[in-house]
Amino acid sequence: MPDGEVKAVQTGGPSGGCIPAHLLDTSVDYESLVALGSMMGSGGMVVMDQETDMVEVAHYYMDFCREESCGKCIPCRAGTVQLYEMLSQILAGRATLADLDRLKDLCQFVKATSLCGLGQSAPNPVLSTLTYFPEDYARVCGLAQDPQREGRPAESVEVQP
């Protein structure tokens, strides 16, 4: 891949995180990767170019985690499913920036309350992409407010307490 074309490196498998290009000088060790919101996992890496939509990446990994959830504890069993649905809505242009706060809140809840490592780390791809690539989320969410765009207005899917 030519210089400057790397957008992110995903480490730690589906429950790891996406590290942006400007942090590529980080050493590959447990502590450094965890500090960046990712993890070592199997040590594998996925290198992504500028064409990559980080919301799609998060959606893809959440699809995996929701399938892999064993179903024993509620936060992981039901939380990963709702996270996946939220990301699907965002990708479909049916979400607003306010939905990102709900996404983040649910991520933190699943992380804090899940019984095992799968649920505790399943939100990592979402949280790390929200942290390092907010513009990707803003782009999809911003489009939802464009009346020219196909798709329902955001208020028809959002029910606030």
Partner: protein, 226 residues
């Protein structure tokens, strides 16, 4: 406060009159720490720990009702309501349901998550009992009560993730499972209206938890009194 070694945080809190919400916990059977409702904050620990399976240790300082815990508990109940098909108005357990009680206790008047409306089955092949999977919250109390108290192990858990469900026998119709002794302990253990006696209609479900408590007490303390 001082408690006997090996006492769980849940028991210790109960001893001093502090109620911690539970769903998968059932007096008399083993704990699995699965519902996460009883998570508590422990000073010096960054992780929230389930009170039902965490033993009290010397000098432990725990918080059972912080704003964070209250938010988590409400989210858990919301996720449960969105995950199944819980329609109180037509349920045998209406007014006698632990899920309903929990919703009230955590202040959940509606779910902020879209309802999933899963397609789930109802099995009424058993001559006395039925199971409506729409109302199941997967607490696995039926699995544990049947295995540990009755010793029949009719119930088990199949599939995974959102497709998880409790099964009878080797995923057979309940009525075909010869191991079932028709004792009805699963009906008494179920927190919702998922497992019911046939013939009961809306809001008629009655449970006899004292029967389970009697058996456990008799077994553990050799006291055969009711």
């Amino acid at each position: 406060m001082a408690v006997e070694a090996g006492t769980t945080l849940l028991k210790a809190a109960q001893a001093v009159g502090i109620a911690i919400p539970v769903l998968c916990h059932l007096e008399g059977v083993s704990d699995v720490g699965a519902c996460r409702l009883c998570l508590v904050e422990i000073q010096g620990s960054s992780k929230l720990l389930p009170a039902c399976v965490t033993e009290a240790t010397e000098g432990m300082v725990i918080q059972t009702q912080t704003p964070t815990l209250q938010q988590h508990r409400r989210l858990i109940v919301e996720l449960l309501f969105a995950e199944g098909n819980h329609v109180c108005a037509v349920c045998v357990a209406n007014g006698n349901c632990e899920l309903q009680d929990l919703a009230i206790a955590v202040g959940m008047d509606h779910s902020r998550f879209p309802y999933r409306f899963p397609h789930r089955a109802v099995d009424i092949s058993h001559p006395q009992f039925g199971i409506d999977h729409n109302r199941c919250v997967l607490c696995t109390r039926c699995v544990r009560v049947c295995d540990e108290i009755e010793g029949a192990h009719v119930w088990d858990v199949a599939q995974r993730g959102e497709h998880t469900r409790v099964i009878t026998g080797l995923d057979q119709p309940w009525g075909d499972v010869e191991a079932c002794t028709r004792c009805g302990k699963c009906v008494d253990a179920c927190p919702t209206g998922a497992i019911f006696r046939k013939g009961t209609t809306v809001a008629e479900l009655a449970r006899d938890r004292s029967r389970l408590e009697f058996l456990v007490n008799a077994r553990e303390k050799r006291e055969w009194t009711r």
